[in-house]
């Protein structure tokens, strides 16, 4: 069927003149394949296929129907080649003989390039975005047009630098499309000079701006040719160009401080670019106000010199994708967001404490950074196998395990499991910088690794110290280090499990009928996390005390130890909420028969197995299973919940612990959110307890209006 269509269309396309532009070479000639195809078609009946053994689904999916515009990326849209497009005047140089028009068009090209770059950053191929610019594809042609040339060159150099950052941070397929540069002229000679070129052009234009300002105040003019011929527009054009050029500049030097200054100036240039829109639109006669929001240039005009179809063949064998370039305004918003994210990264204190670092990364991810800023973060965190390229990983581990400073030089770091543990930590940091979807999958997988390393370390520890404790000083230190690290590894493992479950909410993987089991599992993981965190703190106090042997146990000291540490209380607040939600959801299911989802092919047990498979496989936590979930929830009733209200506990703890975090705004904000969830749920629970079972018109639903993963019950009468 379609096979015939292929041969017909192929023969229709056989007109010679166009083909001339793809010349035969020494070893090839052009031949008409129509008779061959016809013969082949006659030999086959419908549905038959000649294929090799390796013709599988992937091959079938990648097969193309030639000349089907939905599939054939080789199909010629307008021009066979860049050269043909240029011969047809698609990308003239100068762009116009009228110098005013030429400047206008140059600005349009700059704007559209920016929009293309943003589209590339947000998930399209470089070939179909930035490199749809014919001037960029043939950069040497632009040499006579200093303004265009320097801008194109610096754009290309920027793309190259960004590709290199993202490929260095490469962890998964999200980056593949981004870094795909096959067949593109990304590596030009002389790009290292692009900044000095840009500076020269910028200097010229700022002199032109000064001259025209001076001229307008009737002072004598210097012998400098104006930018273009219309004196009324000179100032506006100079300004519009200057901010565009300055946005592309880069200062000499290194360091986060300088980077922040640079970021600040880029942001202010972007704002000037945004402000130039009014002037540019007023000079362009053809713009229509209503759809300006969708335009890819400030002026609202179509840019000259772009053709995305020229490169679409480079993306073969995948079908051609329709690319929607971001609008100019969206592109600027994108770059503003990128710059703010980069600023957050640069202002980070490079805290050697792993716990604060993890907290920072998790906070950063909440602002939903895009690939480019996440790649930068990852490169900052992990360099040359060291944290920030500065702290050896064993130092990071000893600090995280609350060991005394001296431990970091201990020989134990050569132990193979300790070395492996170091790699797990590095790997974890990289994973935490990836997008939430990928991150969750990877976190689920590495849980197993963390579990295994714990078991191996514990075994090594027992082999070494199994016999009665030795008295040698060094052995004591070794033992201490092992103990601390073991506790911390467990704590860290539960932290990963916690984050894994959390991300399920962010990614909307749970449906309302599954909330009950999810909160129950969350509760089980949180209990363990709190327990290990508490233990770690206790062990470290213990160690500290033994070190300072002389100091008497002051009453104050003792009081401090018996008190539950604020971080643990913080976790307890989570625990109460998770338990409260579990029980409320269970009671709703048991008593009002809502939020159940009977399905024809399986039961709740299969859903439990699927959702928690990775945790179960790594025994996180031990002895947790579907039967234990059932056991702890089947008896949930509102009558008992009314007497013991977990949300009240959560509220109380949140209030109490606030004062301990008075200089930690993130945690304070989180506590406030938890308090709100607790308060609302407490009220809802009371209401349901009083009316619920009796009142069939009561509708209960769950929303994430106060917290991203602790739901708030909403009670309505229908």
């Amino acid at each position: 069927m379609a096979d015939k269509a292929v041969s017909e269309e192929a023969s229709m396309e056989g007109h010679a003149p166009k083909l001339a532009s793809i010349p035969a070479s020494d070893n090839t000639v052009w031949a008409d394949a129509t008779p061959l195809l016809e013969a082949a078609c006659q030999g086959l009946t419908d549905g038959e296929l000649i294929h090799g053994d390796n013709f599988n689904l992937f091959a079938a999916m990648s097969a193309l129907e030639i000349m089907d515009p939905k599939m054939d990326s080789g199909i010629v849209c307008r021009y066979y080649s860049i050269d043909e497009a240029i011969e047809n005047g698609v990308a003239p140089i100068p762009i116009s003989l009228d110098s005013t028009v030429d400047v206008q068009c140059t600005i349009d090209i700059m704007d559209h390039l920016l929009a293309c770059e943003a589209a590339w950053h947000t998930g399209h191929s470089l070939a179909q975005t930035v490199f749809s610019c014919i001037y960029l594809l043939r950069l040497d042609r632009t040499a006579s047009h200093a303004l265009l040339h320097s801008y194109c060159r610096v754009t290309r150099a920027t793309c190259k630098a960004v590709v290199s950052v993202v490929s260095d941070a490469r962890t998964h397929e999200e980056e593949d499309l981004f870094t795909m540069t096959y067949g593109l002229p990304l590596n030009g000679d002389g790009d290292e000079k692009c900044l000095s070129m840009l500076n020269t052009v910028e200097e010229t234009i700022s002199r032109q701006l000064r001259v025209c300002k001076a001229a307008s105040s009737k002072r004598s003019s210097v012998d400098l040719e104006p930018l273009q011929s219309n004196p009324n527009l000179e100032e506006g054009f100079c300004k519009a160009l200057l901010c565009r050029l300055r946005f592309r500049k880069r200062p000499q030097g290194r360091g986060l401080e300088l980077a922040r200054k640079h970021i600040a100036s880029c942001i202010s240039e972007l704002e000037s670019i945004l402000n130039s829109a009014e002037f540019l639109r007023s000079c362009s006669a053809e713009s229509c106000e209503d759809d300006i929001e969708d335009k890819t240039t400030a002026s609202g005009r179509e840019p000259i010199g772009f053709d995305a179809t020229l490169n679409s063949r480079l993306s073969a064998p995948t079908p051609p994708r329709a690319i929607k370039i971001l609008s100019w305004k969206k592109a600027i918003q994108y770059f503003l967001k990128l710059l703010r994210h980069l600023d957050v990264i640069c202002s980070y204190s490079l805290d050697p404490n792993l716990e604060s670092l993890l907290h920072f990364v998790v906070q950063f991810q909440k602002s939903q950074p895009d690939l480019v800023s996440r790649a930068h973060l990852q490169l900052l965190l992990v360099q040359d196998g060291k944290l920030y390229g500065r702290d050896p990983i064993f130092t990071v581990i000893t600090k995280a395990s609350a060991l005394p400073e001296a431990a970091k030089n201990h020989d134990i770091q050569k132990n193979e499991y300790i070395v492996q543990l170091g790699q797990l930590v590095m790997n974890l940091l990289k994973i935490l910088c990836t997008n939430a979807a990928w991150q969750r999958r990877k976190l689920g997988k590495i849980l197993q690794d963390w579990r295994v390393i714990y078991v191996q370390l514990e075994l090594a520890f027992r082999n070494e110290f199994g016999e009665a404790s030795s008295s040698s000083n060094d052995e004591n230190i070794r033992m201490k280090i092992f103990q601390h690290i073991l506790v911390w590894v467990e704590e860290q493992t539960y932290w990963i499990a916690f984050r894994f479950l959390m991300l399920g909410f962010e990614l909307e993987l749970y449906s309302a009928s599954e909330y009950c089991m999810v909160y129950w599992y969350l509760y089980a993981v949180l209990i363990k996390l709190a327990e290990k965190t508490h233990l770690k703190i206790a062990v470290s106090h213990d160690t500290a005390k033994r070190k300072g042997k002389k100091r008497k146990d002051s009453p104050k000291e003792l009081a401090r130890e018996s008190r539950i540490p604020p971080v643990v209380l913080f976790l307890q607040c989570y625990i109460c909420l998770a338990e409260g939600l579990t029980m409320m959801l269970a009671a709703l299911r048991n008593e009002i028969m809502v939020l159940q989802s009977p399905s024809p092919f399986n039961t709740e047990q299969e859903k439990f197995i699927q959702h928690f498979e990775l945790l179960q496989r790594a025994c996180i936590p031990d002895h947790v299973s579907y039967p234990s979930f059932k056991e702890s929830t089947t008896h949930a009733r509102f009558s008992t919940l009314a007497m013991y209200n977990y949300f009240k506990d959560a509220q109380r703890i949140a209030k109490e612990v606030k004062s301990s975090f008075s200089n930690d705004p993130d945690r304070l904000a989180e506590l406030r959110r938890l308090e709100q969830v607790a308060e609302h749920n407490s009220v809802a629970l009371n209401l349901i307890c009083r009316l619920g079972a009796l009142d069939p018109s009561l509708k209960v639903s769950f929303e994430f209006s106060h917290h991203p993963f602790f739901a708030t019950a909403v009670v309505r009468r229908s």
């Binding site: 419908d46 689904l57 992937f58 079938a60 129907e65 999958r441 909307e508 993987l509 024809p600 699927q610």
Partner: protein, 185 residues
Amino acid sequence: MKASSKEEEEKVEFEEGEIEYVSYGGEHHLPLIMNLVDQELSEPYSIFTYRYFVYLWPQLSFLAFHKGKCVGTVVCKMGEHRNTYRGYIAMLVVIKPYRGRGIATELVTRSIKMMMESGCEEVTLEAEVTNKGALALYGRLGFIRAKRLFHYYLNGVDAFRLKLLFPRQEVHIEASHGNNDLDST
């Protein structure tokens, strides 16, 4: 599978009993399936893709007819995947005037039953995160959202990998057909 969006069309009056469900019956059904899928799903499939499915697993593909007109179809496969024998729903479409009357549910249910009887341990598919209708439909059949696939459709939209796990019983594994490169991540 990515659905393309079009405006809602006029509903058709019909009785549930008037809909006839048939298993894939040969080459004459192929243009009907292709026509429906081309209309409703935006990803282009070559004829090889369709034939790959319906030739290897004709028993898993179904069509729904109303008074001789094809109004819905489901296309599937099954095979070994990382030590499990799993079914995969590749395409599901019901034309607009016939939606909301349980036709898709019936089509998928037939395929899933066949998969279960053939010894599959689970069934998977991908659906766009914004495809509320499909997500609700599969949710009611017991599928969970196992993973989110970032920018799965290259137009920037994410997908969910949906999974249905059958309860464990003695599993009879038949010889597997074909390869399984499509549904691996």
